[in-house]
């Protein structure tokens, strides 16, 4: 991974627990990465892998049952994990902003789109209402919504799912943040709309030079947008590598399995290669590598001791097979 001078966002050994009836469940068990300026990190994982919890934790939006139990989230050297609410508020939306999975549920149904867009601007910038409105029109145009002036006075229900997500993106970009966190932003959309939204995010990210964390369960989606890809499994990073290398030559058996099990539109297979078994549920007691029970290459050591991340040629892989490579 090319390391530019100062990473804009750095996550160090982040641990998150959930308290539940069964006791304390570790959901994220030590995640580390650094996000340089202008790059897009794709975080891929299945349900329960901790990907959404990780996204929420960056802006400290975790549900009450969840708790950051260790590690640091550094934004330009400042630790977001221990920052006071007051200071955090100046970061949220302004420096780091977020878009969510379900666009129509993330917008307030009783306020017009214009009211919601200008709210962000008025809260963080010294603008008059008229200036804010002008700004909002420009933002809507930027995300490809035609007749922006008129549509500002419409309510979210008058927008389609794809259009709502465009509004969400406009809101997230309103204050030109340094980092955009996108949590499954296209999962609820149809494929043709998904392609449009992905292209839009990519284009805006390139223009503004901001960094982004793009979270998804879909490897194919991440392949088109991310510079680096982090594969999460059971709350641990299994593999972190530049996207091109990861897709061409995945090193971790889990990544290999995921990639080969995808059905393709480009050819017809007789049988799909599968990963046997199913992902562990949070709280399941795991000894050794969490993927070992499903891994075709697992040997004794894998079942006894969880491998660390082995570094080689700018990539990291959590697998004993990569030891000493």
């Amino acid at each position: 991974m090319t390391q530019s001078a100062e990473p804009i966002l750095q996550v160090r050994d982040l641990k998150i627990d959930f308290s539940a009836d069964q006791g304390i469940l570790p959901v994220l068990r030590g995640l580390s990465y650094s996000l340089p300026k202008g790059r897009v990190l794709g975080v891929v994982g299945e349900s329960g892998s901790g990907k959404t919890v990780h996204a929420l934790s960056i802006l400290r939006l975790l549900p009450p049952a969840a708790r950051i139990s260790g590690g640091e989230i550094l934004y330009k050297g400042k630790n977001l994990a221990s920052m006071g609410e007051e200071e955090l508020r100046s970061v949220r939306g302004d420096k780091i902003s977020m878009i969510f999975q379900d666009p129509s549920a993330s917008l307030n149904p009783v306020l017009t789109v214009g009211e919601q867009l200008t709210e962000t601007l008025l809260a963080h910038r010294k603008l008059s209402k008229r200036q804010a409105r002008r700004e909002a029109v420009a933002l809507l145009e930027k995300v490809g919504i035609s007749e922006a002036e008129k549509r500002l006075d419409e309510y979210p229900f008058q927008f389609s799912g794809g259009m709502c997500q465009r509004v969400m993106i406009a809101m997230a970009l309103a204050l030109s943040p340094d980092v955009l966190i996108a949590d499954e932003p296209t999962t609820a959309l149809d494929v043709t709309i998904q392609a449009q939204i992905l292209a839009l995010i990519k284009q805006l990210q390139r223009q503004s030079g901001m960094s982004a964390v793009f979270i998804t369960h879909n490897l194919a989606v991440v392949s088109g947008i991310a510079d680096d890809v982090l594969v999460l499994y059971a709350g641990l990073c299994m593999e972190l590598a530049p996207a091109a290398q990861l897709f061409e030559n995945p090193l971790h058996p889990y990544t290999q399995g995921l990639l080969s099990s995808l059905a393709s539109v480009h050819k017809k297979e007789d049988v799909l290669p599968v990963i046997t078994g199913h992902p562990p549920v949070p709280g399941q007691i795991l000894t050794g590598c969490p993927f070992a029970p499903r891994c075709p290459h697992a040997f004794d050591k894998c079942r006894q001791e969880c491998p660390p991340l082995f570094e080689e040629a700018g990539r990291q892989t959590r697998c004993w097979l990569r030891e000493g490579k």
Partner: protein, 330 residues
């Protein structure tokens, strides 16, 4: 030989009753004709709201058709009595999208799988029932030891296996699968897809497979029908559709499918410019407002699904002509 499922000129309109003023009507299926051939998998592909699930509901008798003919196993379902439907259920079964909400949480696997058998009075002898359930579970990759467990003890993939076993309990000839893998984790989807293909082959099932995912459709389907706003815009054998798509909508859908294929990463995700032409809203072709090939002729030509190649039908007045011509030129 009659086809397992035959649908002709099916219309389905939902009416929203208003207290005052006129009732609002919404046509969800417009003139849909389909045939599911024996021992075939017919894929129904389209985006949300295109009517694919409504079509399943009509076929299963959950919703009544507004007009048109729906024949399942050679019987017109509009004229089936309650007992007639009960008989049809032995022939035609369904697997739904969400394995979390389609199993009763208070029933264990034995009860879940026994329910259809009890209703139809099959395998009454306890010993035979036991052997039957063991075999049924084995056929979907679960084991007899899991019979006393409850749905919450299983993962999503395993629950979908239970749903499939429940559908297969009556040994049906027709299986309707409404997005059976889209709620599952990526690493589990392939398992369920393989299982569906396997049981289809082993039991010689005819399957109506609803999906929004072209990659999944290519893996499993023999024939594919593409739906857009309640109409079928293209219908063809699967391989023909993928290698030679005719309708602009099919083309757009195929281009939009993201690919993790290393060699295809470079060309991006094939996003098309969002072209919206609201002025074309009233045109006969439902796709015209989003179509990049639309011409003046589209405004006048009535919507018609025409055969452009053998067994390959397409409802576009511009495209088939264009490709046929360029083909002959080659």
């Amino acid at each position: 030989m009659t086809a397992p499922v035959e649908i002709k000129h099916l219309f389905k309109t939902y009416t929203r009753r208003r207290w005052f003023g006129k009732n609002a009507e919404k046509a969800v299926l417009k003139d849909v004709s389909l045939t599911l051939a024996e021992d075939h998998v017919l894929g129904l592909v389209g985006e949300s709201g295109c009517g694919k699930s409504t079509l399943c509901k009509v076929l299963l008798g959950i919703e009544k058709a507004t007009s048109g003919l729906v024949k399942a196993d050679g019987k017109d379902i509009a004229f089936l009595s309650k007992s007639g439907f009960k008989k049809l259920r032995r022939v035609m079964q369904v697997v739904y999208q969400d394995p979390y909400s389609s199993l009763d949480p208070r029933m264990n696997v034995r009860q879940l799988l026994s329910e259809p058998l009890d209703i139809h009075g099959l395998e009454k002898d306890p010993a035979a029932r036991k052997a039957f359930l063991a075999e049924l579970l084995a056929s979907v990759g679960l084991s007899e030891t899991q019979l006393e467990r409850y749905p919450h003890e299983f993962s999503g993939g395993q629950r979908q296996r239970i749903c499939i076993a429940r559908a297969l309990a009556l040994d049906p000839k027709i299986l309707v699968a409404d997005e059976p893998v889209s709620a599952l984790d990526v690493s589990v989807q392939a398992q369920i897809l393989n299982l569906l293909k396997e049981i289809k082959k082993a039991r010689r099932l005819s399957m109506l497979f609803v999906t929004h995912d072209f990659a999944v459709a290519r893996f499993l389907c023999d024939d594919i029908a593409v739906m857009y706003q309640g109409r079928i815009v293209e219908r063809a054998p699967a391989e023909d559709l993928f290698t030679n798509p005719q309708h602009p909508y099919t083309e757009a859908l195929l281009a939009a499918v993201p690919s993790a294929d290393a060699s295809r990463r470079a060309d991006g995700n094939g996003a098309e410019e969002a072209s919206e032409h609201p002025d074309r809203a009233g045109w006969p072709c439902p796709f015209a407002p989003r179509c990049r090939y639309a011409q003046a002729v589209c405004a006048k030509t009535p919507f018609e699904l025409k055969e452009v190649f053998p067994r390959h039908a397409c409802a576009c007045c511009v495209m088939p002509f264009k490709t046929a011509k360029s083909k002959s030129a080659v």
